[in-house]
Assembly symmetry: C2
């Protein structure tokens, strides 16, 4: 196996990249600038060394605590609970939220062997107990696992006198009734808002 085949094989291990795409990427890089290949390679090789978990929120960061947790301008009384560290990025890009985050590290899925104790739920309760938290927003996917986890966390938070909310679920903006599935439609009815 030569250097091209080895790189193609390594690329196919990435999600959504089949053999043809892997070959196309490899040849594109080979046809291109060696400097780019070296830079991409060095960043990949050094990624795990540069990035750690924030000891407060569990998000990916270069410094601990992460820039978001360390930012005194942000609202420290609101915590947005997400499944994965990458969800922080998605929400940050929407510029919709100015509080802090908490990464659960997964969703409850007993069939896949993921139980509440595998998630960062204890540290969340600790933060709510210790800090003057006013609201916890559950930004979990509207799936069976997301619903289960939201219910579980909601129950644990009942002992605190704080607001627990969940992101609205319904028709996507720009979507079409015709293409909405039954469950989404049903949820958009239940969550209908007064005009």
């Amino acid at each position: 196996m030569n250097a091209i085949d080895r790189l193609v094989t390594l690329f196919t291990k990435l999600p959504g990249i089949g053999k043809k795409t892997a070959a196309r990427l490899t040849y594109h890089i080979l046809d291109g600038d060696a400097g780019y290949a070296r830079l991409l390679g060095e960043h990949l090789a050094g990624l795990h060394g540069a990035i750690k978990r924030c000891s407060l929120c569990g998000g990916f960061t270069e410094e601990d605590p992460c820039p978001i947790c360390a930012d005194t301008e942000r609202d420290r009384s609101v915590i947005c609970v997400v499944e994965r560290a990458q969800d922080v990025r998605i929400i940050e890009e929407s510029r919709e939220f100015r509080g802090r985050f908490h990464v659960l590290g997964g969703l409850i899925a007993p069939l896949e062997g993921i139980n509440p104790r595998d998630l960062s739920i204890g540290p969340l309760l600790q933060r709510v107990r210790r800090d003057a938290i006013r609201e916890v927003i559950l930004a979990l996917n509207p799936t069976v696992e997301g619903d289960t986890t939201a219910l579980y966390v909601q129950n644990l938070l009942k002992e605190f006198s704080i607001e627990v909310t969940r992101l609205a679920s319904g028709l996507p903006v720009g979507g079409d009734l015709e293409y909405a599935d039954r469950l989404t439609l049903s949820r958009s009815f239940r969550g209908r808002v007064k005009l």
Copy 2:
């Protein structure tokens, strides 16, 4: 910009990889094994150093001449002319061809400033003149540029008493008349074969 953002930005420079896919790849790698990231990184960084062009056919190779040109079992009297080095891989995977290759390095496209002198046409004529070539197969895409280049090379090869052929063009196997474009259909008529 932290290590994650830098890697996302670098990934978006690859063909077919937008911002969302770049982020998904980066987080997938970060969530995964550091060993894989290091291996992928090292192979990328070392790619250009490991791979050179074969001085005979122009294909990508670790040794010069490349394993295909050096293989004495292959038919040295037939040359398959391709546009790009990656086309060699595609044809090799079909196991349909047992001769040697010649990489033109592009197709004639005057509007894009690619003229015959930019392609490896001289070396091709030299190989035909020097070696006992029986047939040259033009495996160029059935596009305007491919047709133009095929015609140009075919004219230059007229002075040698060798066979010059081109890959058949027509309906793809498993395809449907209904979805064939007019030009493909027209070409499949002109190239119809006796049963």
